[in-house]
């Protein structure tokens, strides 16, 4: 079994709490997300899945409101909230795909080349290589290779989302965070993204939030189950290989959720 291989952790967290202003959204989350595996984060809405995910690349800090993290988050053993961390490098290493596709209003080529250019990639030839590789990786190359110079806004929703994945891949991240990447897509587009995720795990670590249990079952190796109670503070109930979580959950709340008696 795959999960038997001893993988080191790409990301692990120790007693992480997250605050929006004075309000605590998640509490004491200690979790491990192994390298080159897909970790799914599941749980009822409002339990802090997105909050947790956005703490992993510190993108929550960009919203302008005051947020705070307690506890520790490590990327391959490095504390990502340490004083000397350059968040731009962190975010280059930990890419993110959002709930709704967010293509820039530019050409497909410029969208994909955006990240590499931020880090100094110039030269048409170099960029062409990067763009082609990223688009092939996200299985979009054949569909768009003849229209690289046309606006990305002309793509369908599913294509836009795969282009956003390609855009993230172009800066060669080690970890890819995905926050319900299929929630705005139709079933066929969803299927394509799922196939893509299974392909991506050969090269990088994927952490995906999903409210779709079947999807978690199909694509993930590990699962983190979050929930929340009357306190409205999210916490981690159970984690482990997806198969175990789905077949023999240890916690009653997990079982209720998996069997659809909850949320």
């Amino acid at each position: 079994m795959r999960t038997e291989q001893k993988n080191r952790n790409a990301v692990n967290t120790q007693k992480v709490s997250f605050f929006y202003g004075p309000k605590r959204a998640i509490e004491d989350i200690s979790a491990e997300m192994p390298e080159r595996q897909v970790t799914a984060i599941i749980g009822p809405s409002g339990c802090g899945k997105s909050t947790f995910l956005k703490a992993l690349n510190r993108i929550s800090e960009t919203s302008g409101s005051s947020v705070r993290v307690e506890g520790k988050i490590f990327l391959f053993g490095e504390d990502i909230y340490a004083k000397d961390v350059d968040v731009t490098i962190l975010r280059k290493r930990v890419g993110m795909v959002f709930q709704r596709p967010n293509p820039f209003p530019m050409t497909i080529f410029d969208n994909i080349a955006y990240g590499p250019r931020l880090f100094g990639a110039k030269g048409k030839a170099d960029l062409e290589v990067i763009v082609e590789r990223a688009l092939r990786q996200s299985a979009l190359w054949d569909e768009v290779k003849d229209r690289l110079r046309s606006s990305a806004l002309g793509l369908s929703g599913g294509q836009q989302q795969r282009m956003c994945i390609a855009r993230s891949l172009a800066v060669e991240p080690e970890v890819l965070l995905m926050d319900e990447p299929c929630s705005a897509l139709d079933p066929i587009a969803t299927l394509k993204i799922e196939e893509l995720i299974l392909e991506l795990r050969k090269n990088l670590t994927v952490i995906i939030v999903t409210h779709n249990l079947q999807q978690a079952g199909r694509v993930s190796d590990y699962t983190l189950f979050f929930t929340t109670d009357e306190s409205r503070i999210g916490n981690l109930v159970e984690s482990g290989p997806t198969r175990e979580i789905f077949s023999s959950p240890k916690d009653k709340r997990t079982e209720d959720y998996i069997t659809g008696r909850f949320g």
Binding site: N57, T88, R91, K92, Y114, L118, F119, R167
Partner: protein, 327 residues
């Protein structure tokens, strides 16, 4: 159900009180609106009818000749030049400062205390009567800044370089006047750029400035441009701010200088004639006000054409960008 449902005719046969009232109100409102339109048409019509013959006489020489015989004859050439030069200089001041201030307010200061203070200041600036700007311009720009500069550069107060009314100070004063409008418009344009795009850029490792310069500003440019043109055209018609800061009664020379002895260039230290001010002078200061009446209409027509074309350009630009924005 014991009684049959009451039959309500949908045709307007019965003139009930209610329907009469509705008709009356609608008539009143549309009447008022059309009255306004009629007023504007009449107002513009009079100006065109009375002004155009003078403007177009002798191959439109009114547009490029200088005033002659006091103010009684001649055209508005220098005033048109001065107006355009003023607007250009003002834009040069107002646009960068306004855009940078808005970028700071929206992108950096966010909900912070400093942004609230700056915004309050900007809003108050917008409410200040324009004559106050004129007085402030003299006190601050001409006397304080200008004389200060002269002191530094070794010019005496009897033969000042900067410490006197000049197109530079008039443009600076005008820039202050339109700054709030530029800022408000730019802020709106920036806020209209979706958060998801900013986050998309930052999630790829973009710094805040990279995100602003590569994603946010390009998206906001149409809004910033149209807003700015509108505020500029507002400024182009104002007289009060330039009254004491640089506009001249009558000048034979244009506010220009020769760079390297050949290239004509706006000389920021010179005074200038301006259309709005010129109209005011024609109407109040000429030896015979009746005699200059045709020139007054003509100058007014020219000023209106300039401001309207600016507004029109803004409208076209906006429509153009809207069309392009539709996916």
């Amino acid at each position: 159900m014991s009684e049959a449902v009451k039959y309500v005719p949908i045709s307007k046969e019965d003139l009930s009180y209610k329907s009469v009232r509705e008709t009356f109100l609608e008539g009143l409102l549309s009447g008022l609106s059309w009255l306004l339109v009629a007023f504007i048409v009449a107002f513009l019509g009079i100006i065109v009818v009375r002004g155009f013959p003078t403007v177009s006489a002798n191959g439109f020489e009114f547009l490029y000749t200088s005033p002659a015989k006091g103010l009684d004859e001649g055209g508005v050439g220098p005033a048109i030049f001065g107006t355009v030069a003023l607007v250009l200089l003002m834009t040069l001041f107002a646009l960068p400062i306004g855009v940078l201030t808005s970028v700071y307010l929206v992108e950096y200061a966010g909900g912070r205390q400093s942004s609230r203070i700056i915004r309050a200041a900007v809003n108050n600036l917008a409410g200040v009567p324009s004559i106050v700007f004129g007085l402030f311009g003299v006190a601050f720009f001409v006397l304080f800044l200008g004389r200060g500069l002269d002191g530094l550069l070794g010019y005496s107060t009897s033969d000042p370089l900067f410490g006197k009314p000049a197109i530079l100070w008039a443009a600076a004063t005008m820039a202050l006047l339109v700054l709030p409008i530029v800022i408000v418009n730019t802020e709106e344009a920036l806020l209209a750029v979706p958060v998801s795009l900013r986050q998309g850029s930052q999630a790829l490792g973009g710094t805040q400035w990279q995100t602003i310069s590569r994603v946010v500003l390009p998206q906001a440019v149409p809004g910033i441009l149209t807003g700015s043109i509108l505020s500029i055209s507002r400024g182009a018609g104002e007289v009060a701010p330039i009254l004491f800061t640089g506009a001249a009664f009558l000048l034979q020379d244009l506010p220009t200088t020769q760079v390297f002895g050949v290239v004509p260039f706006i000389d920021p230290t010179k005074q200038f004639m301006e259309l709005g001010y010129h109209i005011f002078i024609l109407a109040t200061q000429s030896s015979d006000v009746e005699k200059t009446r045709p020139a007054q209409y003509a100058a007014t027509l020219v000023l209106l054409v300039i401001t309207f074309s600016l507004n029109f350009a803004a409208i076209i630009l906006r429509a153009q960008f809207r069309k392009r924005a539709i996916r």
